[in-house]
């Protein structure tokens, strides 16, 4: 190879001029060494790229393959297992879009559909907690937006190391601030999530974010770049050097001591731009101006260009130098790999381009035509050609990046220590005497995983958009979708890494069961599932076995419950050194409420109501919070899961007349009683059964149980209903009083319960409270008249007031009229509506 005749060939590929590596130069220099290993590509993967292209890849192409074939984008280790979600999917006529789309879409009425998905942003959140978490929210919101939906709420399942570890004090406030900062600024209520501490997450916290959106059924969008001749338009933020290699560097490798040097790989979020992007996209959808749309997330333009063209079988010619840049010195491979946030790629018919640009201008959103869709040739899908200042730097079949990445059936092996772990049962640990149960309850109630989470949730706006019916700490978030019909949805996200560590198959089913039960406890009918599978390195056969078992458990469970998985996300390489996290599948379940006014809250509300426990309590303490908090113990078998029993339990709740219903999970009955009392500050008096140990009744974590309260006189109906469904029902006592009283065992005043419950997180992470007493003003010098003379008002001329003109009926969440149009006006009765319900 002779490069000496050319100026400045610093890149390892050797360039013919002071510029980027081009396709022509790549063909001319087939043996130039390339840094594929540094970019995470295996030798055989690199060879395959050379075969596909018939030459060595250019620097830009190599960057594109390395990110699209990374674990994060290609699912190369998980694909062979994830197929079960499709193969075992129960039939559902509600599913409008499923796995493989940006997010699953579920029809909830003839006109309205809901789309929801949960995704991870674990590694960025450890490196740079605030921005990592913020952009995690931003990314999932754009996935929902890309389906044609208005995002209407977010949820955040979080995992951190030990609550009292110094690094948790660094990571947690940043993550919570980022989730809140981004979501609040977008105007999306945060309606729930999880906060779990465990030392296994010390060097690898988990930030999963769920977003849910709503759309009229006929506004569903897709990502296919159909229609040769159509224009490729990039809208939103400028492209910078942030996040380059995020998916390949951060999300597809294990952390080591060099983690801090990766901070430039973390993207920086700008929620204001995303808010404008949302409004602009929704206006573009409503005007019917796009053929296809895709968000730019992990892998940035590379992913969006290849996925949209591969989905349509078309090609594309892109003039990359048209992409607006934050830094003029960026090279084409950097532009292609950048993960700058708040960008979307639109496919637009040429005749509609000006209308799209006008809407973007109205919202102050940058919009640039960067290329054109090209037709397939002779039945062969088109090619993606990227030009940079007159030179072709990329010429690839887009499907080879988007769809035909490597697939691995990784070796799997049941971990050697599993039988030891399972033999070490928590049921054999020393148990408290009856006289110690009071202290045990308070100790557990104050433990970081069971205590009040207000320190976190108060940093989130739960009211914005005005349709939040239930939010944390309720069992599930409940949103009103259509105020006229009362149609609503319920959502819960759950997972228990301790159970899954003990038994990945059952642990995944337990996560599904809990999310299902939480949704059912509000009175909703569960209809669909999403998931985020957080595991260690797939190159570790033990982890791969855990993953395969968990996927099998979840797929089997969904089939048994008759609700399909609609989409999800896999996060591998969650480990520190060689030690993986507890396998942590997070399961989200969506439910539908025909009349959201009939939702069932969790708190005791009426003195005199009867408290009844639905479900069976067994001696099941392995993996429990009691074993964790009191004995620092993890071993044995997790609780038995009976999905048919869960379904029958849900049927009882759906048909009963209940004042409250609260799921039993971590912490068992003791925790559920305490939370039901504290929610509205009303006590309870209960009596435990004599045939079973009081300790087991209070602290067992048997699945399939819900604590309910019913109006006096309605007990018999509930008991008969439960009996008809084969669900055990045990009357426990009565709502009322100023404390939690368990007859013969203890009496804890509500104030003492509350103190234990609410002090833990503020003590750990700061109270931030004002300690000064309420200000009492001096009496005013001038008395204010109670009924003042009306102050002067601008003249009202009824003739001048434009008559109500509803441009986008009932879309109160949507954009206001353009300056030139008459203002939209008095909403009809449906108006103060959930966006989207009556959106078209």
């Amino acid at each position: 190879m002779t490069t000496s005749a050319f100026v400045g060939p610093p890149a390892t590929s050797g360039t013919p001029f002071d510029g980027p590596d081009t396709v022509d130069w790549a063909a001319a220099t087939p043996d130039a060494p390339q840094p594929h290993a540094e970019l995470g590509l295996a030798d055989d993967e690199y060879e395959r790229i050379r075969q596909i292209l018939g030459r060595r890849p250019t620097q830009s192409e190599l960057a594109m393959y390395s990110i699209m074939w990374s674990e994060h984008c290609s699912y190369k280790s998980s694909k062979v297992h994830l197929r079960q979600f499709g193969e075992k999917a129960p039939h559902s006529d509600r599913l409008l879009a499923g796995i493989g789309e940006n997010a699953g879409v579920v029809r909830i009425s003839d006109q309205v559909a809901v789309t929801f998905k949960v995704e991870s942003h674990n590694h960025p959140s450890f490196v740079e907690p605030y921005q990592g978490a913020a952009t995690g929210v931003g990314g999932i919101v754009r996935d929902i937006l890309a389906m044609g939906a208005r995002p209407i709420a977010v949820m955040d399942p979080l995992r951190f190391g030990a609550a009292d570890h110094p690094d948790t004090a660094r990571v947690l406030p940043g993550v919570v601030g980022g989730v809140g900062g981004y979501g609040n600024c977008l105007g999306l209520p945060n309606i729930g999530g999880e906060l779990v501490f465990d030392p296994c997450y010390q060097g690898n916290p988990l930030l999963n974010a769920l977003c849910v959106g709503v759309l009229p059924v006929d506004r569903l969008q897709n990502k296919a770049a159909a229609g040769p001749g159509n224009v490729v338009v990039l809208i939103g933020a400028k492209t910078g050097r942030d996040g380059i290699g995020g998916v390949s560097v951060l999300a597809s490798a294990t952390f080591d001591s060099g983690s801090e040097a990766r901070r430039p790989s973390v993207q920086v979020g700008d929620p204001f731009t995303e808010k404008l992007l949302i409004e602009a996209c929704l206006e573009i959808y409503d005007a019917g101006l796009v053929v296809g749309i895709q968000d730019l997330g992990g892998a940035g333009l590379t992913c969006a260009l290849t996925e949209t063209s591969a989905a349509a079988g078309t090609g594309m010619v892109v003039d990359l130098e048209r992409v607006p840049l934050r830094e003029a010195s960026m090279d084409p491979h950097e532009v292609l790999a950048s993960e700058s946030q708040e960008r979307m790629l639109l496919i637009v018919e040429p005749a509609k381009l000006n209308a799209v640009l006008a809407i973007c201008a109205k919202w102050g959103v940058l919009a640039t035509a960067i290329g054109q869709v090209t037709p397939p040739e002779n039945g062969v899908p088109g090619r993606l050609i990227v030009n940079w200042k007159g030179q072709t730097v990329v010429d690839v079949p887009p499907g080879s990046l988007a769809d035909d990445g490597p697939v691995y059936a990784r070796p799997m092996r049941e971990p050697n220590d599993r039988w030891l772990l399972q033999a070490d049962r928590a049921e054999t640990l020393p148990r408290p005497a009856d006289s110690e149960l009071r202290d045990t309850l308070l100790r557990l109630l104050a433990s970081p995983n069971l205590c009040d989470k207000s320190w976190v949730t108060e940093q989130y706006d739960r009211y914005v958009l005005g349709n939040t019916v239930l939010a944390q700490p309720e069992d599930a978030g409940v949103l009103r979708i259509d105020p006229q019909s009362g149609l609503g949805i319920a959502l819960s996200v759950d997972g228990n890494g301790r159970y899954t560590r003990l038994d990945p198959y059952q642990g995944a089913r337990l996560a599904l069961a809990e999310a299902f039960r939480n949704v059912a406890a509000t009175g909703a009918t569960p209809v669909a599932v999403t998931n985020c599978l957080n595991f260690g390195s797939p190159e570790d056969p033990g982890v791969m076995w855990q993953f395969a078992e968990a996927v099998r458990g979840l797929a089997d469970g969904c089939l048994e419950l008759g609700i399909p998985v609609t989409g999800g996300n896999v996060s591998f390489y969650n480990q520190t050194g060689t030690v993986p996290i507890n396998p942590t599948p997070i399961v989200g379940v969506l439910g539908v409420l025909d009349n959201v006014a009939e939702r069932i809250p969790m708190g005791f509300a009426n003195r005199g109501d009867t408290i009844i426990l639905l479900g069976d309590t067994r001696d099941e303490l392995s993996g429990s919070e009691w074993a964790n908090v009191v004995h620092n113990h993890l071993g044995g078998h997790p609780p038995v899961v009976d999905l048919d029993g869960e379904r029958r339990l849900a049927a009882v709740i759906a048909n009963a007349r209940l004042t409250s219903a609260h799921d039993l999970s971590e912490g068992g009955l003791a925790q559920a009683l305490a939370e039901s009392c504290l929610r509205k500050g009303i006590g309870a008096r209960v009596e435990l059964l004599s045939g079973q140990s009081a300790f087991v009744q209070l602290f067992s974590e048997s699945a399939g149980r819900i604590l309910v309260s019913v109006p006096a006189g309605a007990e018999d109906d509930l008991l008969a209903l439960a009996s008809a469904h084969g669900v055990p029902a045990t009357p426990l006592g009565t709502v009322g009083g100023t404390g939690l009283v368990v007859d013969g065992l203890f009496d804890i005043p509500l104030d003492e319960l509350r103190e234990a419950y609410t002090s833990t997180l503020p003590d750990l992470f700061g109270r931030g409270e004002q300690t000064e007493p309420d200000y009492v003003p001096p009496p005013p010098v001038v008395a204010t008249p109670a009924e003042p003379e009306p102050v002067a008002v601008a003249p009202v001329d009824a003739e001048v007031v434009p008559e109500p003109h509803v441009a986008r009926p009932a879309d109160l969440g949507g954009p206001p009229p353009a300056a030139a149009t008459p203002p939209a006006a008095s909403p009809p009765p449906a108006a103060p509506a959930a966006e989207g319900a009556t959106d078209e």
């Binding site: 706006d461 005005g466 309420d774």
Partner: protein, 231 residues
């Protein structure tokens, strides 16, 4: 005829839909006003809603105050039109010098959302005439920069002239001086409030329906004006 309330949307407004709903539930006709359009379209009163106008990237409300619609609103307010600024709207009113003082970062540095008890101290405004003096109400507070500050002379003047409309009770959520949650101008047509009455208008979705009083008060106020001025 039914009074018309205009709700302004700035880029980054978030609670504009909620303000529309609240005004609608109180019985108003609701018109949406756009930040770039100086025409108020004949509305009888204006609400500046919560949110993060222009991203709040300078100071909260500092850019919104220069929007074309604000020129018209400032003029109208000086002429007596009722204007309610909620949260970010309150910040805009302070930046526009329609109200004194400023809203700064919460003393504990966190965004905080909770159901807050307020004591209504001034009922002589266009927006609070329906409350009784000293009435305690519960509406959500949610802000990151809601800490009211002013110099001592201004605070003394607010107290002395009865210009504090509401104060926080049972805990000050953001470190506001003298627990101030809402203030008014001397004429009583302009009110800025940090908590969110528009989020407490329906039992199903709010902690109470106490917030409705702000919107029904202004309609009653406008009706009274019409009685006075219509022959």
């Amino acid at each position: 005829m039914t009074a018309a309330i205009g709700v302004v949307t700035f880029p980054g407004s978030l609670d504009d839909g909620d303000a529309c709903r609240a005004a609608y539930l109180a019985g108003a006709r609701v018109l949406r006003l756009w930040h770039a359009d100086p025409d108020l379209h004949g509305v009888d009163a204006v609400i500046l809603p919560g949110g993060f106008s222009y991203g709040d990237y300078l100071r909260c409300g500092a850019i919104a105050r220069f929007a074309p619609v604000m020129e018209s609103i400032i003029d109208a307010a000086k002429g007596g039109m009722p204007v309610l600024g909620i949260c970010n709207g309150f910040q805009i009113l302070c930046e526009a010098h329609l109200l004194p003082g400023a809203l700064t970062r919460n003393s504990h540095l966190h965004f905080r959302n909770r159901d807050q008890v307020l004591r209504v101290e001034s009922t002589g405004t266009a927006w609070t005439g329906g409350f009784s003096p000293g009435q305690e109400i519960v509406i959500p507070v949610k802000n990151g920069e809601g800490r009211y500050v002013a110099d001592a002379a201004t605070l003394d003047k607010l107290d002395a002239e009865g210009l504090v409309v509401a104060r926080y009770v049972d805990g000050n959520p953001n470190g506001s001086q003298r627990s101030i949650a809402a203030i008014r101008n001397p004429d009583g047509n302009v009110v800025g409030i940090m908590p969110h009455p528009e989020h407490a208008v329906e039992a199903l979705t709010g902690p109470s329906t106490d917030g409705l009083g702000f919107f029904s008060s202004v309609l009653r106020h406008l009706a009274a004006y019409e009685r006075v001025t219509t022959p």
